[in-house]
């Protein structure tokens, strides 16, 4: 009694507060309306479109395609701009292709045969990195031969190299400019944000229209996809040079040029190398996907295998991509470490010893290159040493056996999930009148993201209707949302554990880093082997693809919750669960929202790739558009619809992140470094 009196007298009057925020009611009402409308108007006003059906817009796009095809040789714009870009990029790509892949003469052997290539890349790895990554490189590149995919791997390598060269040539100056000039940075940032929101797939159709298909347009698509990280991280590195150091240099009278060369660039070097690493990984991922516009290489093998559902061959090619990803990642990472260390610890003696060792190595390289140009076994990887074919067949057996043996388990999991979760949710989205669905999305967007996000969402949805793909978009949205919810549940569980325990973090992080470097493609392969082609397969692959980035962001958020807040909670006797649910998760809310944002973008890009393995809907339309002229327009429209979905989901979640930030300020902008790409740290 006394206590309550005391409270009544002295406690400050609590601010008026609802126990449940108004938004929750709004969403609950909207969902109820949705459900009722679904039961009452099932199948009415759902804007369906069969997979072979097209709209007038699609037909018009087909005509544009045909017109471009017929007139590109006489049109000034095409001849002067697009063709010259294509020819320029193509020439460089052809140069590397001749060097590593094949020439037109005689046996079509490359200028440097496999032995020479292995020796050369190993030497480069040793020169920019250390002997450990050199060994890894030698083993990795030899493995391509053993897997029987050396030529394809060299195509992928040559195209990646070309794309990286162009990306650096474009990205480095742009990044430096954005780093020293605030206005340029202000213009570039939203463009880069937008570019990185786009699923890699959707670049391809318009690029094929402008640049035709083949290696050159594959490289151009890759450049567009791979250039943002290096611009971003170069600018980021320059802008994060401490003001105190820049000012001290000014006080000594540096000129603008000296300031850049002696202060800004050296201090930004680390960030720039991280950018290079991300650019290389993005380039590799995109080069494999560019198989869809006839980009040669390992991706081509995967696509063919996926389309013929040959798990074994897809696995072998996918494994080769993984090997390439690991080699490229390790070498660029080692190169960044080396850049850091060499300034510190190099003594004249060490430097001389190293130069001698590298010089000797160069002689070995020269010998290997000479051999590879004169001995056939050193030029073309001997077929009898390759085990790829046999390995693929073996994997096919295992996969078939697995699917047979565990069919009870895998089939029941797949069917159960499909019938209980995917179908009902997809039905809810596709079978309800579109106006109701739009209204529900609008309410959610207002509540979660605010008015601006709601307006953008509405525009996106109207445009999706305009391109005639509402039903397909809703199917894709259903898969995306289901995959995202599961991804977030998984990421929250693992991320919280990881953020709370340094030991778990140390255990998991290398695996997550590695997982993030993998091109989206390869995630499909094992699940195709397990579950066969289906929407479920695409969803599982998307979850696995998106989980690492979401886990890392959440773990980061939890780990950065101030230790004092946690200690304060513990000192009042909070249990671990109370500490997590009442202190750490609320304080990491903005990170969790950011993880949801990134998770959505990753999932969306993967769900689209899932079109290749029975994901259907927009992804399928895009893929079909590449292969059938009659469906070109529809494929292009589907690409646009994917972009619109992506913008809508990104804007809503971004706005939610911004709102959270206002409540709990976050010291570091994670997005700056964690680009929505296969990234490494």
């Amino acid at each position: 009694m006394a206590v309550t009196d005391f409270r009544r007298q002295f406690a400050p009057r609590p601010p008026r507060q609802r126990s449940i925020p108004r938004g929750v009611y709004a969403i609950a009402v909207a969902l109820l309306v949705w459900f009722v409308a679904w039961r009452m108007f099932n199948g009415v006003w759902t804007l369906p479109l069969q997979s072979a059906e097209v709209t007038p817009l699609h037909l018009w796009l087909n005509e544009v395609n045909a017109w471009v095809r017929d007139n590109r040789d006489s049109n000034v714009l095409f001849v002067l701009v697009f063709d010259s870009i294509r020819i320029g990029v193509g020439a460089v790509a052809a140069l590397f292709a001749q060097l590593f892949v094949q020439t037109d003469v005689g046996l079509q052997l490359p200028e440097i045969g496999w032995l020479g290539v292995v020796a050369l890349v190993t030497w480069v790895a040793a020169a920019v990195g250390n002997y450990r990554v050199a060994i890894l490189t030698a083993v990795g590149f030899t493995a391509f031969g053993v897997l029987g995919v050396f030529t394809e791997a060299m195509w992928t390598f040559a195209l990646t190299l070309t794309a990286v060269l162009f990306s650096v040539a474009i990205g480095l100056p742009l990044g430096i400019w954005a780093g020293v000039n605030k206005r340029v940075n202000g213009i570039l940032t939203p463009i880069l944000d937008f570019m990185q929101t786009l699923p890699s797939f959707v670049y391809l159709a318009p690029l094929a229209l402008l640049f035709l298909i083949g290696p050159a347009s594959a490289v151009i698509a890759t450049i567009i996809y791979a250039v943002p990280p290096i611009i971003r991280l170069t600018a980021h590195g320059i802008r994060s040079v401490p003001a105190t150091i820049a000012e001290a240099a000014d006080s000594l009278g540096v000129s603008k040029r000296q300031r850049l060369m002696t202060v800004l660039l050296p201090l930004a070097r680390n960030s720039m190398v991280v950018g290079l690493n991300q650019t290389v990984m993005a380039a590799l991922a995109m080069v494999t996907i560019a198989a869809l516009i006839a980009g040669p290489g390992l991706g081509q093998l995967v696509v063919q295998a996926l389309q013929s559902l040959n798990v074994g061959r897809a696995f072998v090619a996918g494994f080769a991509i993984v090997v390439m990803a690991i080699v490229l990642d390790r070498v660029t990472t080692a190169a960044s470490r080396r850049a850091e260390l060499s300034a510190r610890h190099s003594t004249p003696l060490r430097r001389r010893r190293r130069i001698i060792a590298l010089g000797a190595g160069l002689l070995v390289v020269a010998a290997a290159v000479y051999l590879s140009r004169s001995v056939l076994a050193a030029a073309r990887f001997p077929a009898e040493a390759a085990v790829g074919e046999a390995l693929g067949a073996r994997i096919n057996d295992v996969s078939a056996g697995f699917q047979n043996t565990f069919s009870v388990f895998t089939a029941s999991l797949k069917d159960g999930f499909t019938i209980r979760v995917i179908n009902p949710f997809q039905g809810l989205l596709t079978a309800t009148p579109f106006l109701v669905v739009m209204l529900v999305i609008l309410v959610i967007a207002v509540t979660v993201g605010g008015i601006r996000a709601a307006v953008i969402s509405t525009i996106c949805l109207l445009l999706i209707i305009a391109v005639g793909l509402w039903e397909d978009a809703m199917i894709t949205l259903a898969s995306t949302l289901i995959a995202t919810v599961i991804t977030m549940a998984l990421a929250l569980a693992v991320g919280v554990i990881m953020g709370r325990s340094d030991r778990v973090d140390r255990w998991l992080r290398p695996g997550l880093d590695a997982a993030q470097t993998m091109p989206a493609f390869v995630y499909l392969v094992p699940f195709l082997g397990l579950f066969g082609p289906s929407r479920f397969t695409a969803i599982v692959a998307a979850i696995i693809y998106a989980a690492p980035v979401a886990i890392k962001i959440i773990a980061e958020g939890i780990a950065h919750v101030s230790a004092e807040a946690v200690e304060a909670a513990q000192s009042t006797g909070a249990s671990p669960w109370q500490t997590i649910s009442k202190v750490q998760i609320p304080l990491a809310a903005s990170s969790i929202t950011l993880a949801a944002n990134q998770g959505l973008i990753y999932v969306l890009s993967m769900v689209v790739v899932g079109g290749l393995v029975g994901g259907g809907a927009l992804g399928y339309a895009v893929v079909a558009g590449f292969s059938q002229n009659a469906l070109f327009g529809k494929g292009l429209a589907a690409g646009v619809a994917i972009v619109l979905l992506g913008i809508m989901l990104d804007r809503i979640t971004q706005a939610a992140v911004a709102r959270r930030r206002r409540i709990v300020p976050v010291t570091r902008r994670v997005r700056d470094v964690t680009a929505p790409l296969p990234v490494t740290h």
Partner: protein, 375 residues
């Protein structure tokens, strides 16, 4: 490299030569900066009021002063008083809004970018609170950095850098990197870098604020020694009164961007311009700062002329043995002129911190004000 430009020059040419002459200097941050600096209607307004009305921050407000050649000129104020902005305006690291800055008769405000760089490269160097060292360069290369950007060859700049390294006590640390050094050692590197170009004037922006007290004392002694040996003009920013009194020939006190008082240490303590300064100096041990000039009493009738005498510039603490050892009041001379006497009571009053009635009253009201602030 020409030997003449790099050898430390000896002392000042004459006491009256002025290195820096600053007149009506303003620095206002914000869109309306120019208007506020030129519009007299803001004269009566406080910085807070101007911020309220225009959204502009007045960091430096109509400040004028001279820095004599060879002088150690200290600018003191609390954080946010504008002192760091003021020192940056001297070489236009921050562009002043209006006013005049003359360096040895040359108008700094009228210099082009290239001439300004020349000034920074050769004539005025700066030492920073957070050192501003380049983390990827070792000590030797950091110190030689200023010479490098002047285009001086490797051998010559290393030779000069090694000279300065010996001067600031960094011998043996040439190959270390900044993050391998303690804060005090890093600031020695910052100091050496500033000295390497043999400038006429050294600017210090709170150089020792980030250091431990003991290291700070060492570094202060180092600066005093360098000043004694090289006689360079120094402008020294600090928020630490004891540091100001220890180093400064003259001290400028700033508050909210405005000049409150300029004077020698004993002038600030003996005759504070207002309550703010008085409050500032109230904790100072007056016997260490005040000279006899501030405590003399009128010469009493019939004082014997053979008693002890002291110059008026004697600090009280140094006069204690003489005064306490004398049975009669000690006569105080300004040159040859007798200006008064000091007796035991006067000395003891100062030691006990008892102040004359008028000032004590002020002190009591300040104490009240302080209590009010705390509450």
């Amino acid at each position: 490299m020409s030997a003449t430009t790099l050898t430390p020059t000896a002392s000042a040419t004459s006491d009256t030569a002025v290195d820096f002459a600053v007149r009506n200097l303003w620095k206002v941050f914000g869109a309306d900066a120019q208007r506020i600096a030129s519009d007299p209607s803001f004269t009566g307004h406080s910085a807070a009021e101007i911020l309220e009305e225009t959204g502009c921050v007045t960091a430096v407000r109509d400040i004028s002063f001279d820095v004599a050649h060879g002088e150690v000129f200290v600018v003191m104020g609390l954080s946010g008083s504008g002192k760091s902005t003021l020192v940056r305006c001297l070489t236009r690291l921050i562009e002043p809004t209006s006013g005049q800055v003359m360096l040895e008769g040359q108008d700094i405000m009228k210099l082009g970018a290239k001439e300004l760089r020349e000034v920074r490269r050769r004539r005025v160097s700066m030492v920073f609170q957070h050192f501003g060292l380049l983390p990827f360069r070792n000590v030797l290369d950091n110190i030689a950095f200023g010479l490098e950007i002047r285009g001086i060859g490797t051998a010559a700049r290393y030779e000069r850098a090694r000279e300065v390294i010996d001067l600031v006590g960094l011998h043996g640390y040439e190959e270390r990197f900044p993050d391998q050094l303690s804060g005090g050692m890093q600031q020695r590197v910052g100091l050496a870098r500033a000295l390497a170009s043999d400038p006429d004037v050294l600017l210090f922006d709170e150089p020792f604020s980030a250091l431990d007290p003991l290291i700070r004392r060492d570094m202060q002694a180092e600066v005093i020694r360098l000043h004694r040996d090289m006689g360079k003009t120094m402008v020294f920013i600090t928020h630490d009164l004891s540091e100001a009194l220890k180093l400064g020939d003259r001290i400028l006190i700033m508050r909210n961007g405005e000049l409150v008082q300029i004077g020698t240490g004993d002038e600030l303590v003996g005759a504070p311009a207002d309550d703010y300064v008085a409050d500032f100096v109230s904790d100072v041990d007056r016997t260490q700062v005040l000279t006899l000039r501030w405590v003399v009493a009128p010469v009493p009738e019939g004082l014997p002329t053979d008693g002890p005498g002291l110059p008026a510039t004697t600090v009280i603490v140094d006069a204690i043995p003489t005064v306490l050892g004398s049975t009669v009041p000690v006569r105080v001379f300004d040159g040859d002129t007798l200006i008064g006497v000091v007796d035991r009571d006067a000395i003891l009053r100062e030691i006990m911190g008892v102040k004359p009635a008028a000032v004590r009253h002020g002190g009591a009201s300040r104490a009240g004000a302080r209590a009010g602030r705390v509450g």
